[in-house]
């Protein structure tokens, strides 16, 4: 039965109109792409942001302060442990303090007008460590990156400047017309110091674009701190070592640092509302994809139905000479499988050979993220087999309807 069905299917496909076959396979491919790409792009909007967040801010594991605590305790011991811990490639210790930055104070003439200020966090960095972890210098869009040997210079996040953040409206305060080379005043508590703007940093990660950055030395001079406990520690895992963020987190907790700071993997550090959006977008994408599957299955139904109806006489003849109904139905199922398999495989090639690398290299430019195409192998495989299954059913039903008609009526065209 299977071999006869396969034999008949092969011959039918081979003998059918090539343009029609191409069209059907093309529809299957588009259906598959619709199923994968729509939800993949929607999820990728958020995932792109999450990846940028990991690459540019959290690293694979991030340690922040426990709620109510001003600092991460035992920072130096923690750092020492991290340096010796297996699986870790880079660590960046960040010192943070809320500050007010004032610009254009030299040119302010009308004292009835509010001062040009913006509240933000200033981050004190060890530049080499931060560069190794996040490549922060690549986001300098104006001026230059900081130099560890220089003092009195500041990097300003672009979203603190009006000319970069105008599109966000009055969502947060921003400074007017600050350019590299100009001076700004940075106030923390009773301390005010003047810095020269070295450069402007622009990324889509708010924790970078909404901060100002100075060297660790300048930070400690600005802020009255007695200890060297940090506020953030970002950790990057060495690739291909088999260590996962969960391993590192677990090792840190086992080493007794669980009470010194809030240890989170990059995934855990994603705000829950973003996870909810990811789920919602994924669902929306799947609904849109399922509509495509319904359309494709109707297409296959019609194709097989027309094929079987126009061949009703030959179906009757085959039944008459002893070919079982099952064998004939199997031949139509094989034809459906052919269309779905070929269309799906072409779709897979387009997704992984073209679209995923393309969007990785040229992400979609959204204000809050670089949108990529997310197509996990497991999920994509599931969608491939879903398309295959639905197509098989859509091909079987009309075939069964025609095949079970009376043999003699079919032969005689009654």
């Amino acid at each position: 039965m299977i071999s006869v069905g396969w034999f008949l299917a092969k011959r039918q496909v081979k003998g059918s109109n090539k343009s029609t076959t191409f069209l059907i396979v093309f529809i299957m491919m588009l259906t598959f792409l619709n199923l994968v790409v729509v939800s993949g792009i929607l999820v990728g909007l958020i995932e792109g942001g999450n990846r940028a967040n990991k690459d540019q801010y959290t690293g694979d594991v991030i340690i922040t302060t426990i709620a109510g605590e001003p600092e991460i305790s035992h920072t130096l011991e923690l750092r020492s442990t991290l340096e010796k811990m297996q699986g870790i490639s880079n660590v960046s210790i960040r010192y943070l303090e809320p500050v007010t930055i004032e610009a254009n104070y030299k040119t302010r003439r009308d004292f009835s007008v509010l001062r040009d200020t913006a509240g933000t966090q200033i981050a004190g960095l060890t530049l080499e460590d931060e560069e190794a972890l996040s490549g922060i210098s690549r986001f300098v869009v104006e001026g230059d990156f900081l130099n560890e040997n220089e003092s009195g210079y500041i990097l300003i996040g672009a979203n603190l400047l009006h000319r970069y953040s105008a599109d966000f409206g009055d969502f947060f305060a921003s400074l007017e017309g600050v350019y590299p080379g100009e001076e700004v005043r940075v106030t923390v508590g009773d301390n005010t110091k003047t810095f020269i703007v070295k450069g402007i940093l622009d990324t889509k990660v708010d924790q970078v674009s909404l901060r100002a950055f100075v060297t660790k030395a300048d930070f400690l001079r600005l802020v009255d701190r007695t200890g060297l406990n940090a506020n953030e520690i970002a950790i990057k895992i060495s690739p291909n070592t088999g260590f996962t963020p969960d391993n590192i987190k677990s090792n840190l907790i086992k080493a007794g640092f669980g009470d010194d700071g809030k240890i989170q993997t990059a995934t855990e550090a994603i705000p829950d509302f973003l996870n909810q959006i990811t789920l919602a977008f994924g669902l929306l994408g799947n609904v849109i994809g399922l509509i495509g599957i319904v359309v494709a299955s109707i297409t296959i139904f019609i194709v097989i139905f027309i094929n079987a109806v126009t061949r009703r006489k030959y179906i009757g003849i085959m039944k008459g000479i002893g070919i079982s109904e099952r064998a004939i139905e199997v031949s139509y199922v094989f034809q459906s499988i052919f269309y779905a398999l070929l269309g799906g495989l072409l779709g897979l090639i387009v997704v992984y050979g073209l679209l995923v690398p393309f969007f990785y290299a040229h992400p979609l430019n959204f204000p809050f993220s670089d949108g990529i195409l997310v197509a996990p192998v497991g999920e994509t495989s599931f969608k491939f087999f879903l398309l295959l299954f639905v197509t098989i059913v859509a091909g079987y039903i009309p075939a069964r309807q025609i095949v079970k008609k009376n043999t003699l009526d079919s032969i005689l065209g009654r």
């Binding site: 030959y314 085959m318 008459g320 000479i321 002893g322 079982s324 032969i411």
Partner: protein, 229 residues
């Protein structure tokens, strides 16, 4: 005494609904011996083809008994009927009834494959039988590339490939020119001489004379029977 391979008792066949029933066969009793070449003749609408379809298990009689090779077909399930057609019966249709996308060889192979034989075996059997019907050099041709006579030969080859107990032929020469028609009948004669049981519907007297027994149908009844030498 020759064994009866076909035995029909009080066969009736009607079409239509109970309210508007059209009887086509009205109580046919018939026995066909093994190795017999039976011709069924009659005017158009007499019920010739209908009778053959009932005997050939392509249709269900309204009432009556059909026994083929000692098997009472009344009690057979649909699958059993299909199996009987596949293994025991062969058909030659008026319009050849070949599958257009299969070559001559593949048309012959299909029922052999269905019987469970391997592709190579089926191909070999198909080739042999096409040689016997004189089509050894046309095996790869599709039906559209064959003449009417050649298509009918392929149809005969397909019907004979599995050595059926009974060969049914419904007006096998109706769509053929005289020369082709004669060659087809000669094939049947040859098969008959080798012991094949054949039931042939025809309206042509010159071909009916090849049969060794002819029944004449009129209004769904056998009105005349003659034996030939």
């Amino acid at each position: 005494m020759t064994k009866n391979i076909i035995s029909i008792k009080n066969l009736h066949k009607s079409y239509g609904t109970k309210e508007l029933e059209t009887p086509v066969l009205r109580g046919i009793d018939l026995e066909v011996g093994e190795g017999e070449f039976l011709g069924i003749m009659g005017k158009s609408g007499a019920g010739k083809s209908t009778l053959m379809y009932q005997i050939g298990l392509l249709d269900h009689p309204t009432s009556g008994e059909i026994i083929l090779n000692n098997v009472n077909t009344e009690k057979l399930s649909m699958e059993e009927r299909t199996q009987l057609r596949l293994f025991e019966l062969g058909y030659v249709f008026q319009d050849y009834a070949l599958i257009p996308e299969l070559s001559a060889s593949e048309n012959v192979m299909i029922p052999i494959l269905m019987q469970g034989k391997s592709f190579d075996e089926a191909k070999k059997i198909g080739q042999n039988i096409l040689d016997k019907v004189g089509l050894s050099n046309r095996t790869h041709n599709k039906p559209s590339a064959l003449s009417g006579g050649e298509q009918q030969r392929v149809s005969i080859a397909r019907a004979m490939a599995h050595n059926p107990k009974i060969l049914f032929a419904d007006e096998p020469t109706a769509n053929l020119d005289t020369a082709s028609g004669h060659s087809i009948i000669e094939l049947f004669k040859d098969l008959h001489q080798r012991g094949q049981t054949i039931v042939m519907v025809t309206h042509e007297e010159e071909y009916a004379k090849y049969c060794n027994r002819i029944i004449h149908l009129e209004d769904g009844k056998i009105v005349k029977e003659s034996k030939q030498k």
